[in-house]
């Protein structure tokens, strides 16, 4: 149900409608469809934002969707997106009611949480009252209305759209998302949980939806927060979430950011995560992915303050024809920064994994400590991983290592366990859990670790597919 208004017809009412008339021919139909919802976009009455949208749309129109001819997209093909008749999620005035919202934490934890359904905030499921004074936790629309300078400042800080077409697309069409701002010295003890559900609409008339959420996380100097960001689905609908997350961790600040991607197996999910770490900042970014037909985490993390430290890791469990891409560039820009990167994956059926991890040590960034590893377990002959670890070191006194391995379950270990009475399924489960367990060890919330352990067990209980 499209919202209509007279203002929509004004030629310069916002950046989207102005630009599509010039560049429309090159754009997928669903990008053009945003013309019709222009005024429903967050901040459609803000000239500064419209100008930015227009600029971003021009950039996207010039580049189009990424293609495999680009080195960074060599192994992941988004071509299919162009022809899906997506409708903007925001086009719908109402979203279907839901009767429950999953949580990845224990129910009795005093949570601050935001719940979104198909891109719309559901206030009845959300709660922010328990947060310390001064902390902002809001959906993008509310944040723009109440904290516009903050949003403008941090969006402006990070508008690197050149050469990043998915960021340009999000910058042009950003139609939701959320903002967390923890002011200087404020400690948020309890985890904040953000649940983003998609595929709520069911039935024969379901149109695939597209959504471009923007996430802004600003943890000021000396502040601390823990964020659990959960992407989940109400059905096996086809949809596309093109997420951009901008994260700022100030001097001495600490952010634990757990990103759980359990999208529908028919969904497309791309998250571009851009983070900047100040002096002695600590950022733990963890991703757990079991969902989506095609997913990509594209992380650009910059350690710009001396003593900054990054924990970047996760686990992915894929089967069928799922495709999961983890691409990262970690920039060590100053001396004495550290990064520990640990990814573990299991691929079954015809699933495809991609791991591209680049660590860049800039000139003068001595005493950098960068460790990277990605280990993948291939559970079938049809599963594949493309791994490309890269070190670019322009400083002398550094300690860096990387490694990517792919292999099968250890036949010796499997036989040993079976010879001790464990059936093959149990033996495999035990070995796969053991393989993934040290990735989960990076999680410091016991409740979340427990939920994810259950997820792994559940994943293995599902029937295995025919292997080739």
């Amino acid at each position: 149900m499209a919202r209509t208004s007279a203002r929509r017809l004004e030629p310069v009412s916002n950046g989207v409608s102005r630009m599509t008339t010039e560049a429309g021919a090159a754009l997928p139909s669903w990008v053009q469809r945003y013309q019709a919802v222009g005024d429903a976009l967050p901040g459609a009455d803000r000239p500064w934002l419209n100008a930015r949208r227009a600029e971003a749309l021009a950039a996207f129109a010039a580049s189009g969707l990424p293609t495999r001819r680009q080195e960074a997209w060599k192994y992941t093909d988004l071509k299919a997106l162009a022809s899906v008749p997506f409708a903007p999620a925001i086009e719908r005035a109402t979203v279907p009611a839901i009767d429950r919202v999953p949580t990845l934490l224990t129910d009795d934890e005093p949570l601050a949480r935001l719940v979104f359904v198909d891109g719309h905030l559901r206030p009845e499921w959300s709660a922010t009252a328990g947060l310390p004074e001064g902390v902002v936790l809001a959906d993008l629309v509310t944040a723009l209305a109440r904290h516009e300078p903050l949003v403008e400042h941090w969006l402006g800080e990070r508008d690197g759209i050149a050469g990043r077409s998915m960021v340009a697309l999000n910058a042009a069409l950003m139609d939701g998302g959320y903002v967390i701002w923890v002011p200087r010295g404020t400690i948020v003890d309890a985890p904040i949980e953000i649940t983003l559900l998609s595929g709520a609409a069911r039935g024969a008339h379901t149109t695939p939806l597209v959504h471009h959420p923007r996430i802004l996380v600003v943890i000021e100097d000396g502040a601390e927060a823990t964020l659990v960001e959960h992407w989940a689905a109400c059905s096996d609908a086809t949809y596309f979430n093109n997420v951009v997350a901008d994260v700022q961790v100030g001097a001495g600040a600490r952010l634990r950011h757990y990103r759980i991607q359990e999208e529908s197996v028919e969904a497309y999910h791309v998250t571009t995560l851009r983070a900047d770490l100040g002096r002695d900042a600590r950022y733990e970014a963890f991703s757990f992915s079991t969902g989506a037909r095609l997913s990509r985490l594209d992380a650009e993390i910059s350690l710009t303050g001396t003593g900054a430290s990054l924990g970047f890791g996760g686990a992915f469990l894929m089967r069928g024809r799922q495709h999961c891409d983890t691409t990262s560039v970690i920039d060590h820009r100053v001396p004495h920064t550290a990064c520990r990167e640990v990814f573990k994956g299991t691929l079954d059926g015809q699933a495809r994994g991609v791991f591209q991890g680049r660590i860049v040590v800039h000139p003068g960034a001595d005493k950098t400590d960068g460790q990277q590893s990605c280990r993948t377990l291939l559970l079938s002959d049809g599963a594949e991983i493309d791994a490309k670890p890269e070190l670019e070191i322009y400083a002398d006194d550094v300690k860096c290592s990387h490694g990517a391995t792919a292999g099968q379950l250890d036949a010796n270990a499997l036989f040993f366990l079976r010879s001790r009475g464990l059936d093959e399924t149990t033996a495999r489960r035990l070995l796969i859990e053991a393989f993934l367990s040290d990735a989960l060890d990076e999680i410091s919330l016991p409740a979340l670790r427990g939920r994810l352990t259950e997820r792994i067990e559940g994943w293995m209980r599902e029937p295995r597919e025919d292997r080739e």
Binding site: D410, F416, L417, R418, G421, D423, L430, L431
Partner: protein, 249 residues
């Protein structure tokens, strides 16, 4: 207990066992001695049911059942236990967790009730005390960071918990110094029982000082070429395997 008749087995296309016959009665301890490449490990893997060990002829009956048609875990349930020559390290799986899963799997197979955590720990403590196994070894991942002696003691602990009818000890003496060897042998001897048979596979006679067999067999070229009492082990040690080349049982 165990009857092996005319067993032929291939590994990666090469015939390793070429007509092996062996019968073990209840409560008996048999030793199979043989040089490298004679088929000792192949025999133990065929009995335990490892993939890739293809039986081309012959039969193996265990307590009246056709052993060869069973999966490895079914054989464990039936009472076959293989102590590995090279115990496997499994990072990420706590030894205690594994031991409980293993014992309960075998108990389920045997129609016995599973043990809850408390009963299991009580049993485990009792069995570990006899083997001189420290608590620390139970908390660590399976065999990870264990010394050679600790790994072998861990194997014997598994045997003590699973209470097999037939224990196959595959070169349990390899990599052990005399003290460790004695500890392991004591553990094995403590498990000798009228209804429990053992098949001790070894290259050297040394182990048989500590685990004294009822019957000794010499395995050469995939067949048993000589059988006798425990004194045969001494003869082998003295004369070397070359003596038996060309012999048939």
């Amino acid at each position: 207990m165990l009857e092996i008749r005319n067993l032929h087995a291939r590994v990666e296309g090469a015939e390793i066992l070429k007509g092996l016959d062996l019968t073990i009665g209840p409560g008996e301890v048999h030793a199979v001695m043989g040089p490298n490449g004679s088929g000792k490990s192949t025999l133990s893997y065929v009995l335990a049911g490892r993939d890739g060990y293809e039986v081309t002829q012959g039969e193996v009956r265990f307590r009246g059942r056709d052993l060869l048609e069973l999966e490895p875990e079914q054989r464990a349930g039936e009472g076959i236990f293989l102590a590995f020559q090279y115990p496997v390290e499994i990072p990420g799986v706590a030894n205690t967790t594994f031991l409980r899963e293993s014992l309960n799997a075998v108990r389920r197979y045997r129609g016995e009730p599973e043990l809850d955590a408390i009963k299991f720990l009580k049993l485990l403590r009792e069995r570990t005390r006899k083997l001189g196994i420290a608590d620390d070894m139970l908390k660590r991942a399976i065999n990870v960071g264990f010394s050679g002696g600790e790994k072998k003691r861990n194997e014997i602990l598994q045997m003590a918990l699973l209470e097999p009818a037939l224990a196959v000890l595959d070169e349990t003496d390899s990599g052990l110094d005399v003290d460790a060897l004695r500890t392991v042998a004591d553990g094995v001897n403590a498990l000798r029982a009228p209804d429990r048979s053992m098949l001790v596979i070894t290259h050297y006679q040394r182990l048989l000082h500590y685990i004294v067999p009822d019957v000794v067999h010499v395995l050469m070229g995939g067949r048993i070429v000589r059988s006798g009492g425990s004194e045969l082990a001494l003869e082998v040690e003295e004369k070397g395997y070359g003596t038996y080349v060309g012999e048939a049982a």
